[in-house]
Symmetry: C2
Subunit: 456 residues, 2 copies
């Protein structure tokens, strides 16, 4: 039987057994695994382990420096190994009143399944398992070995991933390719993969100038004001020209390669969709087209993500705040190093006279890049074209961040996105949803990637 | 009978009838008259009117551009008129869990009465009424006429006071002196009056850059960030040297007079008490002693009273905020004009490239100064010395603001503070309280001021 004949049988099996897979997904979505709130972590890890066992894995719940990891191995024929990276934790469901059905009771409406985590990332866990069930049914045996690593802290920064990989290098090494935790189609239903992520340094700055708030009429001209100190400190980090002013911040920035810029050139134009969605007339610095994308994806950023001090209610309150806080989200690019940047930030604040401002680090990761010419990436392009009937979109990098760096740098594995998402999936928002047709296509492409491992 | 013999009888009457006055105060404190929350306004106004009638006033509830005014007149002997300015509204009671007894059930403990508004300002209303009752009992007739104006918006900026006075100039004119709404003793139980207030301009700045918040990984380098725009705009208003940078801001600042500086020299040193209370090693610009007070009371200020944008919860959230808000409390001095300053602020923001930032005004008042050499002030000094047995403290101005300017500028009346407060009265905070002994002394001094009007 040819590869295409067998794959046709696999796809038929997937269509025939879709309801069973969705039942497993609904059961997994019933756990309110909100990492930010420390909810249902151990229960979900154990349930996930059992689910892996049900699909034939040998599976363990393993300790990490944070929430436990679920790890599974399933030995197939041949000597190829596919690694899957996923996470069992989800974003908070709040605001609850904006959900049309309970967030932790997966509900079907109009060909979609609604639940917190139904796509991000429980749908992707079940997607991998469903593909395995179909392949085993048709091939008798899995055409490659599969290792799956499912963390419980993706939504709060994946702080334990790098130390876990360092500690279990032997266990996790040797894979020939990796399916990342997200994936799916773009606005025009084209399959899409990203070959990199930006890194990030996330800090909180805290100014404290007084033992307690003061009346502004008493202290306005004699007491130091925490909100002012924070404002002045922030204004030394970045000016209205959007250039980051911390000395040495750009030292290790690697320019995009010609290959990366080529890839960028091949991606669909998104200017108008972004402008319309966010109510903009133009982008910063007036960029557009490929220039906009280059700025969007290849530049380091310094984003104030939060500000808080004093009175924020209606009308006026005559208070002089003792404390002020800013959250700053720095996105970083190859080859910037989070530890080095933290040192530069601290030194800069001190040099500018703001050594009294406390700097709390909430996260840090390096940027990552996958080789666009890896055979595994080419395999994705060919198989995705078959499943979706459209030419896949290859993004040289995402603007977002994630724990991709230790997979690339420590495990040396090429990575692609095969998944069940679409642009209106509302991950992180109320009414997170998955189109069931996207689930079926995601399972089929996953199965094809596993089947191709044998022939690779 | 001599003045002193009669006043001794008046004071005896006050001591003998203290419980009755306190019952009236308790009844008034039972109304939760929180202006910021629009609570119990009309009920309190009507109850206050009835209370004035009980003490012999002809009284009306009068409309204003905001909450109603309670106005009363009581004709006495002679041709002198004393004006009393008070307010029936109170600060919010929150946080409720920090109160040791219910805020709107006046409760006596250890010689103190606890309730929201027990000092600020309901205690002062009843203080004026108690003095009148005692004087009428001893003198048969009030030794001067009294006009009392009680507003319902002092805690939210007294926005209706100036237009009300303008509209009722004839009714309110002709007074020979005015008792202000607060007063009492300082840290060493010395009676204290202030002969002026700073004015204020209170604004809210709002930046809006996007239709809705964005993911910082998507927008960080291409979308305008409201928190950044606000930060940059704020940093053009005042630098770390504390000098306000808005062109022309200091143009109309009148230097303190030699007489004002003399008065300042005569006030007790407060450096150490302030430093200890607020945990400070030094004041801004390293000032101390009289220099500190001059800076504290005679300089315009620009205080950030509140900042808010994006994510302020624990840990990290990767959001790029569409909106950001700052509350700014400018204190102003003679002869700065709020309308002129608002124009200068708006022009400055526009000139600095921040014309997109919305400026919302929440309040504005001019600074005010009472003539320190007015006979009415001298009368206060003499009578306060008698009641308290200590030399009164004369502050040339308060650092705070209030609606004093229309009383001085439009009605031309000299003003002093005669009251029931003390430094630990906790106005605006939980467990607001009045020492009953301070109430008795405040009533006695009020009665003496009224009695002296006849002989003045």
């Amino acid at each position: 039987m040819s590869y295409e004949e067998r794959i046709a049988q696999v796809e038929q099996y997937i269509d025939d057994h879709l309801r069973e897979f969705l039942e497993d997904l609904k059961a997994l979505c019933a756990f309110p695994t909100v990492a930010a709130q420390g909810q249902a972590i151990d229960e979900t890890a154990e349930f996930t382990r059992q689910l892996l066992e049900k699909y034939g894995f040998q599976s363990d719940v393993m300790p990490s420096t944070g929430n436990p990891m679920v790890y599974g191995e399933l030995t197939g024929s041949g000597d190829k190994i596919l690694l899957c990276y996923n996470h069992y934790d989800v974003q908070p469901a709040e605001p609850l009143d904006l959900w049309d059905s309970p967030p932790f009771e997966a509900t079907e409406r109009d060909g979609k399944l609604y639940a917190r985590g139904v796509v991000d990332d429980k749908g992707h866990i079940v997607c991998r398992l469903a593909a395995i069930a179909a392949l085993k049914a048709v091939y008798g045996e899995l055409p490659c070995s599969v290792k799956i690593l499912i963390e419980g802290e993706e939504e709060i920064g994946s702080m334990s991933m790098e130390p876990f990989i360092e500690q279990h290098l032997e266990l996790l090494s040797g894979a020939d390719g990796c399916l990342w935790e997200f994936g799916g189609v773009d606005y025009e239903d084209r399959p899409e993969t990203v070959l990199g992520m930006r890194g990030d340094v996330y800090v909180e700055l805290r100014a404290r100038t007084l033992a307690h708030d003061a009346h502004s009429g008493i202290g306005g001209s004699i007491f130091p004001n925490a909100a002012w100190r924070l404002t002045w400190a922030l204004s030394t980090l970045k000016g209205p020209d959007e250039r980051i002013l911390i000395p040495g911040w750009y030292d290790d920035v690697r320019d995009p390669t010609a290959r990366e810029l080529d890839l960028l050139q091949g991606t669909p134009r998104t200017d108008e969709a972004l402008k319309e969605s966010f109510g903009l007339d133009s982008f910063l610095n007036g960029v557009d087209g490929v220039g906009m994308k280059r700025q969007q994806l290849f530049e380091p950023t310094c984003t104030i993500a939060g500000l808080g001090s004093g009175y924020q209610g209606p009308g006026s309150k005559t208070v002089l705040p003792a404390e002020a806080m800013a959250k700053i989200d720095f996105r970083i690019v190859p080859d910037q190093d989070p530890d080095d940047l933290m040192e530069k930030l601290r030194a800069h604040l001190k040099n500018q006279g703001f050594g009294d401002i406390e700097v709390i680090q909430h996260g840090g990761s390096r940027a990552a890049r996958v080789d666009p010419d890896a055979p595994f990436v080419q395999m994705y392009v060919e198989e995705a074209r078959e499943v979706y009937g459209k030419e896949p979109v290859i993004q040289p990098t995402s603007g977002g961040s994630g724990p991709m760096d230790p997979f690339v740098r420590l495990l040396g594995v090429p990575i692609v996105n095969v998944g069940v998402g679409y642009p209106h999936t509302l991950v992180h928002a109320p009414n997170e949803n998955m189109r069931i047709a996207d689930f079926a296509r995601g399972v089929k492409l996953t199965a094809r990637m596993m089947a191709r491992m044998r022939t690779a």
